[in-house]
């Protein structure tokens, strides 16, 4: 490849050299001190063709290119690549670790949820049991209290009935006595003589149906 380029460049130089000398001398630039030989040829190439085909600068370019590439390779392979590889693997590790931790947390959360559900169910069960027990106790106490109250009520009712009967009996007796006395007094007031037996019979007859 290089031999080809070299050939092209040298022919370019040869063909333009004659012209170039004339051109160069007609407008010799201020910056270019027209030294004979190499400088003239160099200028001719700049004017004539691609600077890329100027073989004279190849050595320079190749030398500095190789230096640059070696330096760049050494820095990249010694410093940059291990560092980036480490960062990437760290990140990979961190991501994997985080995912695993997340999985673990998820597992724990699920366990906690199960435990919570179980505790809740137990508590509900226990509460139910307590409620049932209390209800039974209360029912029993209630039953006992009702029975006691019933018994008392029955006793009181019986007592009251006896007293009412007594009161009624005494009231009847009293009323009969009062009626007899009043009748006897009335008879005496009308000037009659009260016959106890007749008065009693009359009072009894009148009072039949009034009491009862």
């Amino acid at each position: 490849m290089f031999s080809l380029l070299q050939e092209a460049a040298t022919t370019a130089v040869e063909t333009t050299e004659g012209v170039a000398v004339v051109v160069d001398e007609t407008h010799a630039a201020g910056a270019h001190v027209p030294t004979p030989g190499v400088e003239l040829v160099g200028h001719a190439e700049e004017a004539a063709g691609l600077p890329q085909l100027d073989i004279a600068t190849f050595g320079n370019q190749i030398f500095w290119l190789v230096v640059t590439l070696v330096v760049l390779y050494l820095v990249l392979s010694r410093v940059a690549l291990p560092r980036i590889a480490a960062v990437l693997s760290d990140r990979q590790g961190a991501v994997t670790g985080d995912l695993m931790a997340a999985e673990e947390f998820k597992h724990k959360a699920r366990e906690a949820e199960a435990a919570y559900d179980k505790a809740l169910a137990d508590a509900r069960h226990e509460a139910q049991a307590i409620v049932n027990q209390n209800r039974a106790e209360i029912q029993a106490q209630l039953d006992a209290a009702i029975a006691k109250a019933d018994a008392e009520i029955a006793a009181r009712t019986a007592e009251s009935e006896t007293r009412i009967r007594e009161i009624r009996a005494s009231a009847e007796t009293d009323a009969r006595q009062v009626a007899r006395d009043v009748t006897a007094e009335l008879v005496a007031a009308f000037g009659g003589k009260a016959d106890d037996a007749a008065v009693g019979a009359a009072v009894d007859g009148r009072m039949k149906g009034a009491l009862q």
Binding site: L50, T57, G59, Q61, W64, A80, I84, A85
Partner: protein
Amino acid sequence: MATEATGGGLEFHPMDQFVVSPLFGAGEVHWYTPTNVTLWLALTALASIALLVLGTRGRAIVPNRAQSMAEMAYGLVHKMIEDIAGKDGLQYFPYILTLFMFVVFANLLGLIPMAFTVTSHIAVTGILALAVFFGVTIIGFVKNGAHFLDLFWVRSAPLAVRPILAVIEVISYFVRPLSLSIRLAGNMIAGHAVIKVFAGFAAIAAVAPVAIIAVVGMYAFEVLVAFVQAYVFTILTCVYLKDALHPSH
């Protein structure tokens, strides 16, 4: 004004930007002379190092912008080698990344106005291409021995046409460094020269707006080309590496 501009302003020197000149004073360019090539090669290396070394200084799990870009460049080349050349191509990753970073930064830095584009020089791209060519050829023979020549002997073809195919394969193999270097340098030369020509037209007031818009458009296009050519150079290197590692068709 306009006539004056056409008379005095229309001077095209599209190729002057490629002239290799010494950095300090005038004179002959020796092989050791620090030239504008030296300067821009150094800047290319420094830019690559700045991105890949300084950019990753934080070593952050959550990267900042510079570190993201460095990791993207790393990932791009790493994936490219793995996809094309396979896992065993990854041992050459540092070399290929060096190539990619060098070419991409040389191309991009060359787009800075007044810059010198080192990848526009056939000497530079030629050395890069020859390095790739000799590198993969040596790898091919070291890894496969004489079996590397299977690359030229297409066993899937009928026996009668194999010699003809072998000749074609050999020619195409030896054309590789030429096409690799000319493609890159040619793209760079053409783009920069066209921008310069449009810029020269901007001296004429009548066409100046068109010329300036054209320069802007070409510049954007050249940014794309700078990336694409670096990518193409690297991907072809990977393809050649694949041929060297697995020569059988």
